[in-house]
Amino acid sequence: MRRVAPALEVLVPLALLGLWAAWSASSDTFYYPPLTDILETFNETWVFERVGSDVVPSLLRLTAGYLIAVVLAVAIGIPLGLNRTARRAAAPIVEFLRAIPPPALLPLAIVVIGVGNSMKVALIAFVCLWPVLLNTIDGIRGIDPTLRDTARVYGVSRLATLPAAAPQIFAGMRTSLSLAVIMMVISEMVASTNGIGFFVLQSQRSFAIPEMWSGILLLGILGYALNLLFAAVERRVLAWHREAHA
């Protein structure tokens, strides 16, 4: 049984893919083209025809917005985590801003910043800020008191204990990563002339159905790849943490 399981892990996804291919091969429904057509279009569109014009701009916006959010969130989160009064004062504001559904800010961002790249970057950064901020605050608050006391006894600054909050900060960064992808797509769907989100919506509007599917597929692969990349970075950066807790 234990030996069967790893095989299943590979076989079931393959079987599902095969099922999709078989089911769609004979399909003449306009909206669900055969899988082979989608893959062919994917090959024509994304390898590497539109990489420079759509994928790279999308990824640049995503990276810029995400990094700005992480830096800001950690910078704001550390003082808030250390200071109880500041934290309580900021709580209602943070809770309210966080509760605004991010797409609702899109019209506002267009009015205030315009439709350019900076609007998209700002929007991604604003949305990604909250999970990292909340986790930074909680992470700093949750630092083991023994650690803090030890630092004090040895006359080390309290700042030396801050890395203990890193695992939780990374948990927030992981949540923010998927939000970043979502905001990238939304902002490109509403006001853009390039990007993956733009391409997918444009394909749908011009009834280029295999193109639309290929874009959706690309977004899926992108989301998955970003997750893998993040896990690798996290493993690297937090290696000391896992060793300490092994």
């Binding site: 892990e9 079931v12 309580r88 509760a99 605004i100 019209p107 997918v200 749908q204 509007r205 970003l226």
Partner: protein, 251 residues
Amino acid sequence: MIAPAAAVLAVLALWELAVRTGLLNERHVPAMTDTVAELASLLGDDDFWVAVGHTLEGWALGLGIAAALAIPLGILIGSSPTAYRSVRFVIEFLRPIPSVALVPLAVLIYGVGLESKVFLAAFASFWPLLVQTLYGVRDVDPVATDTARSFGLGRLERLYRIKLPSAIPYIATGLRISSAVALILAVTAEIVIGSAGLGREINIARQGGAIELMYALIITTGLVGYGLNALTTRAERRVLHWHPSQRQVAA
């Protein structure tokens, strides 16, 4: 209690001041008092409440459908190690797909009405719930299961008495996450594809240059999100009052 209230007032006052002194362009950001007045006048407007209702309708149906599918499926898959292993990769691949990538597909299949909104909200909130349920069911204390088994409890009874109670905190957290996600997707659908609701009203206000109205509506969506979050947290506390995570005194 004083510090939070003071901070909120300070932010509001700063907003007002920044606009009145011309630090913020009034064409981009209306004064706080004007926005609040607009919001107050909205409260007496029937159309406004209809829009709120449309948004909540999309949220409730989406979340409801997601819960009806994800929780039973999670329990089923989580109960069998073989099933879990064979679908793990599929879930890990489908989960990070940004739900908004499906907007065009939803429009094609369901049009621009309520169905699209519900489909998107349900798809997006399905995954956090499924993953939480899976974790919950798999996290059952093996001693409890073994004890139940040696007392001769059958499969169904073990599910009902052991697995479900220990999975419920996970499911509750999943519901809280999914509730926020469902609201986001409902508003996204309203903004991007123009289904009826607060999102569409915001877009119309922007296109018509009614800046105060736009800000008032955006604040409304924030209040709706805040309210739903408070509601789910409260419900969680009530249902889980017996669970250790809720027993501690608020810090």
